[in-house]
């Protein structure tokens, strides 16, 4: 790895430390929109993995001496049947005294969670897991459930009573592994919202899923590696040109340059990018396949698509793309496990055929040497149907592209299928 690239990693960490600080200080974390989208997706994956797992832990509060004159709470890991298996839940038990305004008062249970693994002063929020779309860093998890009517103004619960249970599928923790979660539990009036009793407890929870900070780390790491890949694409034909470097700089500044980043961090990023560019300008190379392998390990498909998008924009920056660059882009899509159909769709938009120095039938038309004549015919017809409708676009650049594509399709049809006559 070039020193510049390792410096980028350091610079990126500097630029992103603001996010972490804000999280720790309890302020709304300002994750980039794209990053949030990826987190959301990643959680989609991990939640599937989590389904069906079960576990059981004994909370430390079980052994604590109780004062029944006050309100007490404890949290423990329970299990709940789900289909033919079990899933873990956090069960909230309460005991002690609850003082209501009057007899027959309706109340509800409220629980909020804080990750206090590193110390209470550095607590991290537990976030709501969205049903769809990206994770919202400002949406902190809280749990509410109806506790019914308290018969008397003063209620004494002499035994631990389970009053609520929270599924880990509802929230997202900051990190993977063993976490200390502080459960702030209260009983509130349903009519006025007034808090009638409250208590805190801490539970040790084994989080098997990557936390949002883990994902953010992975995203930042993937982005850093993306810069390396982008430089490799720019230098694929032996020359790294200014327009290509400018695309990478702009991307890096957008993706790493958080609004909170200090001037120093920004300068550090700038210097690191310059060093990386210099490394490639002097003939340096990276093991692109290995980098892609690491990206596949840490980045979801949407992240990998974004990285490929960057690489395509770098290739398009100088207005023409060589056969060697096209081949590298095809390899990148394979190594990043982005399917060829998606690559072709991206190429159509970012690298229109007029930029291609040589015509790669697979990249441009989707036909491969392995296809039978009939398969090639079907594929070419599909492309023809697509481009013949685009040829009447109101956008002159699309019309130009469509014209060129239709010519290529005619030639490819002659080559792959031929023209039959009755003679």
């Amino acid at each position: 790895m070039p020193t510049g690239l390792s410096q980028i990693i350091v610079a990126v960490k500097g630029a992103c430390s603001g996010v972490l600080k804000r999280l720790r200080s309890g302020k709304t974390p300002q994750l980039p929109a794209a990053a949030s989208a990826r987190i959301g997706k990643a959680w989609g994956h991990v939640s599937k993995l989590a389904a069906g797992r079960s576990g059981s832990q004994v909370p430390a509060q079980l052994c604590r001496p109780l004062d029944l004159n006050v309100f007490n709470c404890r949290a423990r890991i329970g299990r709940q049947p789900e289909g033919e298996s079990w899933k873990s839940v956090i069960v909230i038990d309460v005991c002690g005294t609850i003082q209501a305004p009057a007899d027959g008062h309706e109340v509800e249970l409220r629980v909020t969670l804080q990750d206090v693994t590193d110390a209470e002063s550095e607590s991290l929020p537990v976030l709501n897991r969205p049903k769809h779309g990206p994770l919202n860093p400002s949406s902190h998890f809280s749990y509410r459930c109806d506790m019914g009517r308290l018969c008397h103004q003063t209620t004494l619960l002499e035994d631990w009573t389970a009053v609520g249970q929270m599924s880990p599928e509802w929230f997202v923790l900051s990190r993977c592994g063993q976490r200390q979660l502080k459960c702030a539990t209260s009983v509130a009036s349903r009519s006025t919202g007034e808090q009638l009793a409250s208590s805190d407890c801490v539970i040790t929870y084994e989080n098997t899923e990557p936390g949002y900070l883990d994902i953010e780390d992975s995203i930042q790491r993937a982005k850093t590696l993306a810069v390396g890949l982008a430089f490799s694409v720019g230098a694929a034909n032996g020359h790294l040109l200014d327009p290509e470097v400018n695309v990478i700089y702009a991307w890096a500044k957008t993706n790493f340059g958080s609004a909170d980043a200090s001037t120093g961090a920004r300068l550090e990023l700038e210097r690191a990018l310059q060093k990386t560019a210099s490394f490639f300008r002097h003939g340096g190379t990276l093991n692109v396949e290995q980098i892609c392998g690491e990206i596949v390990e840490i980045a979801p498909v949407i992240g990998r698509i974004d990285i490929l998008d960057l690489c395509l924009r770098v290739a398009a920056a100088k207005g023409q793309v060589s056969t060697a660059e096209l081949q590298l882009l095809k390899n990148l899509s394979d190594w990043l496990q982005v399917d060829r159909a998606r690559l072709r769709t991206m190429v159509e938009k970012i690298l229109p055929v007029e930029m291609h120095q040589g015509h790669d039938a697979e990249m441009v038309l989707g036909v491969t040497a392995e296809m039978s004549q009939d398969e090639a015919r079907v594929q070419l017809n599909r492309e023809y149907a697509k481009w013949s409708s685009r040829v009447i676009s109101t956008d002159p650049s699309i019309r130009r592209q469509a014209d060129q594509m239709l010519k290529l399709l005619g030639e490819a049809r002659t080559q792959y299928v031929g023209v039959k006559t009755a003679r």
Binding site: A37, G40, K41, G44, H132, G133, P134, P300, V301, I302, I305, T345, K349, R377, L380, N381, Y384, A385, K386, S388, S389, R390, V391, I392, S393, T394, D395, P396, I398, A402, D403, L406, K407, L409, G410, E411, R413, T414, V417, G418, V419, K420, T421, A422, R423
Partner: protein
């Protein structure tokens, strides 16, 4: 009662037909007595107020190419296309209006006043191009009562002059555009099944192939370019067209090339020509296959292949089609005239539907048994933002509601959902095009549907598109819970004929010019 007229506004040639007293269409010759008028325009050098259209304009190209225009149809509806003559920028619509005015003028002189007309367009023309064509008609002083797809017009002409039953594939290869239409015909009952087109494939592409051969021959012999001026280009473009036509009749065409480095005798064989146009024929094949596939019809199920357009005279096209379908194509009707004749029939049918009292009894009787079921020419959709299953990200997408080739009249509804909590409005966009990617479709209208306040996300919005026989589209966007409704109407009559006043303005602007 005024004459009922059909006009084939072609890329290379145009013609006009009218219905006679018994409802039969007849071509009306131009002032020179020709049944076809070249779609060529020449702005007189000596008198700026005189514009020549037709054969004279075609010949004048060789003298002053900068003041001549051909193949306007390929640029119809293109806002970027302008021809600057004597300080005026002429649009494709205005230039087309000059051709139409010449046809109307000559036709009126021969057969009496002509106002109500149907103009034919390629089936694949979108709303913008159709509107531009109607504007051209209005600017030429016509009352454009409708637009007909060229293959439909040709099939109308064919079915009313021959005893036809079966599945007919109309292969319409004109001067600049190519359409394929599949239809079921049973006597005078015609049902369009599917229609597709290629806006950039036609006889002029064949001519270019011949021109390329000539240029190469000259370069090979003299190591110099044959063409150095626009006038020379015009001359050799016409020469190439003549060679192409000759090669439809003979195996070899001969000509002299007079270039700056010397002159030479050139011979172009049919074999060389056919080799050159093979990629174009292959391209045409794809369109045929796309149509058959979309209609779910095998080549063996087609009973007749009807040739339309001058470029179908090319022998390779005919033998090739015979190779695909196993029988020779039908070429008993005049490939150059059938579109205008069919357009006149369509004009009669349209008038009968819109204003039957304004149609003479003889014509009414002649047309009464004709029944035509047309289809939607394009797909119409709206922009939405569903969540991509693979990436989990919202993707802005064009969702097709009314699919191309849906039989008319039709009405289709789809339900969409609001995206965010407290969403105050939905921006509704009506699109025309076949792609899911919004970058590749044309947006024909954008409006806003106001929503009730303070509602959660994912509230249903029902979108209904309908299309009637008069090519009038109605779009309704309804918030299901509140019942709030946004309705939009689009019709070629309103948008094209007199709706925005642009065509009338163009008519007034063109009035002082003398078209000859």
């Amino acid at each position: 009662m005024s004459n009922i007229v059909g006009i084939d506004l072609g890329t290379t040639f145009s013609s006009l037909a009218m219905l006679n007293a018994i409802g039969k269409p007849e071509i009306v010759p131009n002032a020179d007595g020709d049944r076809l008028t070249p779609s060529a325009i020449f702005f007189d050098e000596d008198d700026g107020g005189v514009i020549r259209v037709g054969a004279e304009a075609l010949n004048s190209r060789h003298l002053n190419a900068a003041r001549s225009v051909r193949w306007v149809k390929r640029h119809m509806g293109d806002p970027d296309f302008k021809v600057s003559i004597d300080g005026k920028d002429w649009t494709a619509t205005e230039l087309s209006a000059l051709i139409l005015r010449k046809l109307r003028q000559d036709g009126s002189a021969q057969a009496g006043e002509m106002t109500d007309a149907v103009i034919s367009v390629p089936a694949h023309f979108d709303e913008i191009r159709r509107k531009a064509t109607m504007d051209a008609g209005t600017a030429a002083g016509l009352n454009v009562i409708g637009i007909v797809n060229e293959p439909v017009a040709a099939a109308l002409c064919y079915a009313t002059t021959r005893n036809v039953t079966g599945r007919v594939l109309v292969y319409d290869l004109g001067g600049g555009t190519f359409d394929v239409t599949l239809m079921d015909v049973k006597g005078l009952d015609m049902e369009i099944l599917c229609s597709q087109g290629d806006h950039a494939l036609g006889g002029i592409d064949f001519d270019k192939t011949v021109l390329d051969v000539l240029l190469k021959m000259y370069r090979d012999k003299f190591n110099a370019d044959l063409i150095t001026t626009e006038e020379e280009r015009a001359k050799y473009e016409d020469e190439a067209e003549d060679i192409k036509k000759t090669l439809s009749r003979r195996p070899v065409a001969k000509t002299m090339l007079y270039g700056p480095a010397g002159s030479m005798r050139a011979e172009v064989s049919r074999e060389v020509f056919e080799q050159g146009i093979t990629p174009l024929v292959a391209r045409a094949d794809m369109l045929v296959e796309v149509v058959l596939e979309e209609a779910g019809v095998k080549p063996s199920e087609v009973t007749t292949v009807l040739l339309v357009g001058g470029s179908t005279r090319t022998p390779l096209i005919r033998t090739h089609l015979e190779g695909i379908f196993g029988f020779p194509p039908e070429c008993s009707i005049n490939v150059d005239e059938c579109v205008a004749l069919g357009a006149a029939l369509h004009a009669g049918i349209t008038k009968l539907r819109q204003n039957p009292d304004d149609v003479a009894t003889g014509i009414r009787e002649g047309l009464k048994d004709i029944s035509l079921t047309d289809v939607c020419n394009h797909s119409y959709g709206t922009i939405c933002a569903p969540i991509d299953r693979e990436t989990g990200r919202r993707v802005v997408q064009n969702r097709i509601i009314l699919k191309k080739n849906t039989p008319l009249p039709c009405e289709i509804s789809q339900t969409f959902y609001t995206v965010s909590e407290g969403q105050k409005r939905v921006e509704v966009t009506i699109t025309q095009g076949e792609d899911t990617d919004p970058a590749y479709v044309n947006r024909i209208a954008t409006h806003s549907l106001e929503l009730p306040p303070d509602r959660p996300a994912e509230r249903p919005i029902q979108v209904t598109y309908s299309y009637d026989l008069n090519q009038r589209m109605h779009c309704a966007f309804k918030d299901v819970e509140s019942g709030r409704l946004l309705e939009l109407d689009f019709s070629l009559d309103e948008n094209g004929g007199a709706g925005d006043g642009a065509a009338e303005k163009a008519h007034a602007e063109l009035e002082p010019f003398k078209v000859q």
